[in-house]
């Protein structure tokens, strides 16, 4: 299959003040990346970003600060090299000082998702022994348990809908 190949960067936005995290949105991130690339590599670097269908923020979680960036494959290293120079993101009139921490580079979104699942669970497991009181421990335990889908219920629901269909005619 012929396709445009790209790379997906799974980055974590680290902010000094966590409250600012919720101010983030995809346009702000996009603008910040663009600015920095322009600053670092000039017009040569910014040119690939003009193809908006290739350069995108595919996912942004404002609570955890996880962001998926999509770059064209042929020049992703160039663009990646500009990411450490982002120091602040301008969003809704606020200037959020932050830096990007690239966790994973993947060829598809799927691999990034799989990595993220692994990474997050790992983080939760790491947090567990460091808890200071019992209450926190309990909460984190609960969070870890929540990390899985409830399979049985979903299937049962599907079955029911199928038998309904049979009745129709």
């Amino acid at each position: 299959m012929v396709r445009i190949k790209s790379r997906h960067l799974l980055c974590e936005i680290n902010v000094t003040d966590r409250n600012c995290l919720l101010l983030l949105d995809d346009r702000a991130v996009l603008a910040a990346v663009k600015d920095t690339v322009l600053r670092m590599h000039g017009d040569y670097g910014a040119a690939p970003l003009c193809f908006l269908c290739v350069f995108l923020v595919k996912y942004l979680n404002a609570h955890t600060g996880i962001v998926f960036l999509r770059f064209p494959k042929n020049c992703y290293k160039l663009l990646w090299s500009a990411l450490p120079f982002i120091t602040s993101i301008e969003s809704r009139g606020h200037k959020i000082s932050c830096f990007f921490n690239c966790l994973h580079v993947g060829g598809t979104i799927r691999t990034c998702q799989k990595f993220l699942i692994r990474y997050n669970t790992q983080q939760l497991h790491r947090m567990l022994p460091k808890c200071k009181n019992e209450e926190e421990k309990q909460e984190i335990r609960q969070a870890i348990l929540n990390c899985s889908l409830l399979r049985g219920k979903k299937e049962a629901f599907e079955e029911a809908s199928e038998s309904e269909e049979d009745e129709e005619e």
Binding site: R3, I4, K5, S6, R18, N19, L22, L23, D25, D26, R27, C53, L56, V57, K58, Y59, L60, N61, A62, H63, T64, I66, R92, H94, T108, I109, R110, Q113, K114, L116, I117, N120, T121, Q123, L124, M127, C131, E135, E136, E139, I140, A143, I144, N146, C147, S148, L149, E162, E169
Partner: protein, 915 residues
Amino acid sequence: MLYTVLSPYLFTDETTILPKGGDPSTNRPKRSHHQPGWVRGHQKDGGDYSKEMPKYITAGGFARARAAEVKAMLKAVTKRPASCHVFETLPKHMRRRAMSHNTKRLPRRLRLMAMKLKKKEQTRSKSRKARRRHGNLLLEFNRRQRKNIWLETHIWHAKRFHMVKKWGYCLGDRPTYKCYRPCYRAMSSHCLLQDLSYYCCIELQGEEDRLLTGLSQLTSKEAGPTFAAALCLSGRRQGSVVVYRAGQYPSQPLGPVTFLWRPRTQGSTHRQLWIWAHPTLKQVLSSINLRSVCDCSEAVVPVVVPEPSPAEVTPTVDSEPKPKTTPGAKRKRSSKDQSGPPAKKILGDGTRSPTTPVTWKSNVTCLICCLMCCSDLTMEIIRYRLIGPQSHTVITEAFEAATSCDVRFMKNKESPSSLWWPEHCKDENKMHLHQQQADVFHLLKGIFSTAELPPGTILGLTVDDPRLTLPTKKVKALPCVKERYIISTDLELVLSGVSEHCCQSFLWDRSVRDNVIDNKISEQELNRMRSEVLVPGSRLPVPPQGRVPVLLVHQPGKQVGHEMSSWGAGWDLLLPKGWGMAFWVPLVYRGVRIGGLNMSLKHSQNKSAPHFPHDYPDCPAGVHFQEEQEAELLDKFKRRPPAKRTNYIKHGCLAPFCCPWQQLAEEWEHITREGGEEREGAGRSRTTTEADTVMEGRWRPLVRMNRKSLRLLSGWCKPTTSKGQRACRLRLPPPSLDLSAVKSFLTSHRMTLVWVRLSLLSGGKPELHGIVCVPTSEDLKQLKSSKKAAAPSLPSDKTVEKETELSSASDPNIPITSSSPLDLVLGLWPDPLPSVASHCSRLTLGWVTQGDFSLSAGCGEALGFVSVPGLLNTLQNQPMEHRGTVLLRNPTSLQYRFAKINTRSEPMHKFSYCQ
């Protein structure tokens, strides 16, 4: 694109998705428009986050945020791709040949999913042979007719027709092949056949006087003959009436019904009455009205015969004794069949549970003969309708009057036979009656056209099983041309119809009916008999159980208007249930066309008769039908993209999908009242108070009028017939249309609608919900100046456009930036409609409910309703030669067309007899 979008909630190419609800770090109350879960798109009003943020974060919040993300990701990763094949998730190099066939070729982690998919497919498909096996097929059919009743001809129809589910039945709507014109030709020159078995029959039994007093509450003499009309009461004619809710005569009509009285038997006043009603009418009619009117409240729960064991059932289903020498395989299957539930063909109503009461008796049983009984014979009697001038030819060719039984049977059966016909053959009187009926039936052959007979004639008859005389090929039944009316009896038949005693039929007898149904020869048996005949193809001997009582009921044709009079007359054939296909196929083999629901609508349209649920906006069924139609049309309209829709606002059409009758009537009432005030102020106070009282009650448009006022109205608006010809038959001068007469007429019919026929003077085809408008005097001048009626047609109505644009600009609801985009449909007026009467440049009188090019009249014809005050107002202002001219405009066009208005000269249901 690079990737299939994995989850519509998670990833889209243009937008980022921000998790909003279920905010893990805060426990603020959710805002009303924040839906829980994932919300797509930018949040315009998301600026107030900082206020709600906590001062510090806890490990719990942090963890919960991570957990939520993981969960979402898991969901996205494990989601199956859009395609149904599991192996498409695999990369290419891991795919193997025939993976979907053999699941073991899949990697193990995908196997479970694939197995599940495969199992789902498999449950559906038994082998075709197994599915088509007779017992299994019957079981399947029985399962499928649990919800909607199937007519006996269902399978026949389902192979040839587009089926629709309507009124709890599966009915054929229109054939899959093109046959609109052939069907019309069949109706006007040969014969068209329809299965009307879905009509419901309600049987009333009891003392004649008590029945009549009870039924008189449902009708009124003002609206025409009632159940008590002498000819109908004698049983010689079928009658038709519009019934009302008991005792509520002018206000709450229910709908039209036809009825048959059983002819009197000597020395008994016990009578039997069949009322045939449309299925939408049946519930309210039988449960509320008839039962209360006849005070039959005591339900007779039918005795549920315990289901006979399978061993007993099998011999009755196929009466042929099983030969001992069946091959082993077959015997095995039959034994297997017996272990399972026996598949028995459903006759009659399959959806009704056997314990539902169908008969209600009156609890006042003072005398034995005084017992009144109301029972529901739905699907017990089959009704076929033959339309067309040659339908009698088809009937006479397809059926033969029953031959009397052989002496052989008479001789060796001294003991009473289980079959009804041999018993009847012993009775001299009955045989004499049968002979007379057969004579009348033979006379039918000599008649030139079905329409010659007096409308509503009934003929009782017993016929041989028509399958015995089935021709090997389809032949067209042709009339036998002969010198007409040599015999005086022939003439008598045409003039006065069938004499009273010949209307008697054994179809009325439940016992005979049951006997006939139980003893029907199976198709298989018949084929065996055919194979045993010495000369192949010769006539079969009539077996003793092969006689069926039937009733032939004449249906009147077109009764209004002057051209094509009595078009579409025909016969109705009433049969006992179970014999449906046995009579259907022989009829079809006589070269008739078959019509569906669509054709019956066209039939009544060409006949200029109102069709039941369509043209009765005052009946509950009609209101329901209109709502349904509106929803359907609106749905169809909404399916088109907004740019491709008809812009009804620009076309000046307020209500293209429904007709706000009530609003129209009110507005016209208002307009006429204002006009009246200008002329004289005296009657003012009185009119307002009366109008208020009308408004207070829940009002439905009054459509029905009594005969006298209808005649007056039709006289006023009928100086000419349709197409502009002078009425030659109209000897009386039209009643003068002076002010006082109109005023007195209006006081009683202020908020009434009247059913009219419109025929276009020039070309054009009226459509559903076209607008009937009042022509201005300039229009009429234009019509007068150009000699040919076809010439003057208004130029595309610029004023309409301008007006609507103006009004839409001024109306705050119209612009697209409306506050409620959900209930706003582009191209339609938003809900509170402005004044409907004075919306366009011409005043609206009413709307068309059915419109088409009428093949019988040769011009566009429409049926619709107009407001009575509006009509009178129009008539008054028009010069004599153009009286009754209106304008008609389709909802999708700007072109007005001249049309001639005709109110019918008889009430909606002209009683079916002629004096």
